[in-house]
Symmetry: D2
Subunit: 358 residues, 4 copies
């Protein structure tokens, strides 16, 4: 539990229960089973397996309880949990075991499970962006006409309105929501290529199997597999970092506005100091800055993972596993922290600026 998202007490600050549920191993496992069940049914539908046997096996898969310790050992040895999982599933399927997974490859399962997680996660992000934009819109309605001193290059410039400042927080969020909606078909999509990505292992039914599966799993059905084409994921990671970056700008602004002597924003509460009870620290605003810089750093890793050699790069793929989920956790937390921060703002504006403006 070194990760701040899961840490015994740090998760109070960095954690996000709703996002954690989406990225939980048990949920990932359910997505992997969903792949295998859909694949089995598709084999039945195209005649690669007897439809009744396929349906029976699919039901077995859907109700399957894994031996997690065996998956862990298998992952240590194989680099992926799938060979161990397939062994378990085939034993469970008994005489029909050979239907399971035949013609597919580990990456088909793991990447499709990721797509299913991203579909759930995108709903969370979209909804949270809406929540913040509503809260900011209300804040503008309430305090927008107040004066504020416009600050450029960290120096007082000319008076502006609170609405002027707050719209620079609001506008990018609307754009990010559009970006998120536009990218969904590029990341909520079936992965199906077979061992070397060209579906020959499922010939001549590869495309038909893919169509069946995409329909059952409610995922987009790309014309080719994307085993080594990771630009959709890297682009998605960029959107995550754009979101946390824009919220980081808001956090930095709030830190500056909340400075003693500046007092342009009042917060209903702030963190307590162990040594100085008089202080009210703008914890959530600082958190937004930290999360922005964290994601800005991680994004580089996702782009290095684009150099994905030949038909499958173990190294580049592992780098994605290490990076993307934590970027998602950070994004979710940034959104919830930003929303909470906006809600704790009890006033915005600056009398001195108002006087200067009048």
């Amino acid at each position: 539990m070194t990760a701040v998202f899961d840490h015994l007490w740090l998760r109070g600050l960095f954690g996000d229960d709703e996002a954690a549920a989406i990225w939980a191993p048990h949920r990932q496992f359910a997505h992997m089973l969903a792949f295998e069940a859909a694949y089995t049914r598709a084999l039945g539908a195209v005649g690669k397996a007897h439809p009744d046997a396929a349906e029976m096996v699919a039901k077995t898969i859907e109700g399957f309880k894994p031996d997690i310790a065996d998956l862990r050992t298998g992952t240590a040895f194989d680099g992926v949990p799938i060979p161990a999982l397939i062994d378990q599933l085939r034993r469970a399927a008994g005489n029909n075991g050979k239907i399971v997974h035949t013609g597919a490859t580990s990456q088909d399962v793991i990447d499709t499970a990721l797509s299913l997680a991203l579909r759930e996660f995108n709903l969370l992000v979209d909804r949270r962006i809406s929540n913040i934009t509503e809260a900011l819109t209300q804040l503008i309605e309430q305090f927008g006409e107040n004066a504020l001193m416009g600050q450029t290059r960290m120096q007082a410039a000319l008076p502006i309105s609170v609405a002027d400042r707050l719209r620079t927080w609001l506008d990018p969020l609307n754009d990010h929501q559009k970006r998120l909606r536009a990218i969904k078909p590029q990341v909520e999509l079936l992965q199906l290529g077979g061992p070397v990505g060209n579906r020959t292992s499922m010939a001549p039914h590869g495309d038909a199997i893919a169509a069946h599966m995409a329909s059952e799993l409610k995922l987009a059905n790309p014309s080719n597999c994307w085993h080594t084409k990771r630009d959709g994921l890297a682009d998605y990671a960029s959107i995550m970092s754009l979101i946390t970056g824009s919220l980081g700008k808001m956090g930095q602004d709030v830190c500056l506005m909340a400075q003693h002597g500046v007092d342009e924003v009042a917060l209903v509460s702030g963190g307590q100091s162990s040594a100085m009870p008089h202080k009210k620290n703008p914890i959530l605003a600082e958190l937004l800055v930290a999360l922005a810089r964290f994601n800005a750093t991680q994004l580089s890793g996702m782009h290095h993972a684009l150099v994905h050699e030949q038909e499958r790069s173990g190294a580049a793929w592992m780098l994605e596993w290490m990076t993307l989920p934590q970027m998602a956790m950070v994004t979710a937390r940034s959104l919830s922290a930003a929303h909470h921060l906006v809600e704790t703002i009890t006033s915005v504006g600056c009398l001195a600026a108002a006087q200067a403006a009048s």
Copy 2:
């Protein structure tokens, strides 16, 4: 001349004349003058200045020859060249000097000049992507049916066709071209906000001035200024890195295919070793990998620059200036190197794989 793009001999490898011309200071200067001329004419059009005087000043601006040393000194002192430039322009404009720039701010000029550079650069990138996709399509036509050993996790897997491999190089480029065309309105756009970004310095004609200028400069006209809203640029940088990342994957593949004893690709030529004349080094393929990793690294800097405090962050803005142009240079060079590399491929395929496949 520490930068590889401009270096006396390294630019033979890393440089790109066409891209360098787009990003050249003199071209940037022309864009800054274009802003000032358009701004002056717009002031005339909305009645903030006499139309004839405005037109006369605009013509003076368009023909203006700067004192570069003075701009350099001014940049050292002010952090931007604009105050020095405005002094020069006002002197040139004589009695009408006060029309020049009044109501605008340095960032309006510099960011709009960037937009004009990006418009030119986007044409170059778009055209070069088309060139590579055509060359790859021809390569597929010529050698696509040859066999190749599919390699997963750097181990021989199962035979595939050359077309299977080459399509993983081609497909992402088509997507990048779509991304580039989609993002144009978000980066080829007017910047106009005035000192603190809310156009009050041009009131009540701010929006009208913007409309005039966008029309004259042929840029998109956003409803608000984007002084601190940098997600368009960060997203654009991500597309640059997606392009170089995909070409880096191609480069890495070619390096692996060109290994002695593997011999899956033949190149018409390769670099010479100072010590081993028998060697043919796959220089351009290696270059693609290096450029991919360079841009993947830089991208992080552009995302850190999203934390752009208050109405203008000097620090975040400078970080963009240091980062974005070199990402563009790297992207341009990656595209030209990839095209050249594809053209030097004289055969692709592997007899052993063909035998294994048969």
Copy 3:
């Protein structure tokens, strides 16, 4: 459990039990109690508290069982667990409660706890480097005189010996061990500054308290606090990344040597493919590459955290918490994976190179 180190099955590949124990929250908690106990005793020793009362309180602290849920809630509110912890400890200390922590600050506790963790972790890293260098030395003894084809720019160059190649794996590790030993006094050190870092809250006994504590905790005693001086940690992170980078080079080499048709290294086993039972994937070698690139990416975050404003930056400090522990976990795993990989090598060398050399 999104982090690969703790993940239900991925920790089979990425996890490291021994390192996880060092970085476990309960161990961190023990370190925080060690700070508070030592601080209390030091207050007694310098006469800021009655020695008997101080000793009694210190014993209470050492045996204290925390209310973790309360720490988590406190962290959410205060940004650090210390205010909640101090409340708990003071209640436990009863009438002597006010001795606890008085004059110290949250950062003193958290940073010193980190130093104590790093001291344990450095022993692990040092020992593991020795293990690998021994294993590599044995490998050189066993196979060092075999021939190998020297490869430059991914092209066959001239024959070398196996020892030539393996020494490029071994040499940097020896240097890293020296670096690690040299940096210990810069990271295994007491943090004690009080609320604003100048020890005035402990005046006139600040330096004496520090000396007592450093002696009891067996940490170096710097002349000033390092609340905002984070170069020791950033430099340490660099050493972690140097280690994983060098092991990544070894991993990349093994991947290339293990290629089918190249066959310069034989491994006793490799990962299994779910689709191709004939394959033996060099999982651990790929893992080393992924871990190297991960740490190379994270390092940037640790250096951004150097911009640590004023007397304490919440944002920069949080960024460290998110980054350094996972860099340590990756380093530990890279060392264990590299050791395991070296042990599974059953032969190194290349007959063709031997023939070419003869």
Copy 4:
């Protein structure tokens, strides 16, 4: 001239003439000739060439004027300028031409030339650190007893002295100077390995040649070549980023102290706004923050370049060329800007804090 260091007017802000001279191509070229001359003399000394012929050739090399266009063309083709350079030198050496470079490799020349540049650069960095520490020491003498409000988490905490704050700027610089002096033998060192790094091309005189050359060039003489052992350079890059990071902290502090209404620091001058003549922008302080974040980003690239496959990685090496010189330029400029900034400080302190403290 896209790079800010060389840009027509941006170099007024980002450029550094003294550092630029050290990293100038013509200076690099002189270093490459120094390598070749020393190598030739060493061949003479060990009996690989007639001493008189060797000396004559060495003198020819030292006075050689290159055909730069040919070097550029050669670099484009070979990936390095050395084959073209050797051709030019051999023609110049006439009948003794074959002495030139025989047994050495391109990387020996380029890396040794880098070492020679770093030796010059280290003198500059060391001297500039001394300059800043002196200026800061004077500032502490002058204003150190003034009061300042200590700020933690961007909130007023308790009064401190100006000396307390300024020592957090000064202390790390002293440490960086020690680091720089300690690392010199790891980066100011001869590179000599021959084509595949094991000096067999110079057998049996490889070590003797190296000893001669190290002595003539006044570089450390490592026992092995470091063609693929790049940890010295990556560690050096880390020190560069530590320096700019610490100066970035100082810059961020000055930005915050110079805020209107905070007014804890007075600067003799600041940048001018094109729109607001009343403003005095803390340009140099902002610059320090931007340079810190730039280097923190670049550092990641240098660590990715540690994954340097086999006996020479073209890709990893190129990545170094793109990254290290600009990190050096940024470091030099950060040092000069910080020095200048400190010199423009006319007062530090805060009356309100003094009153609060009394």
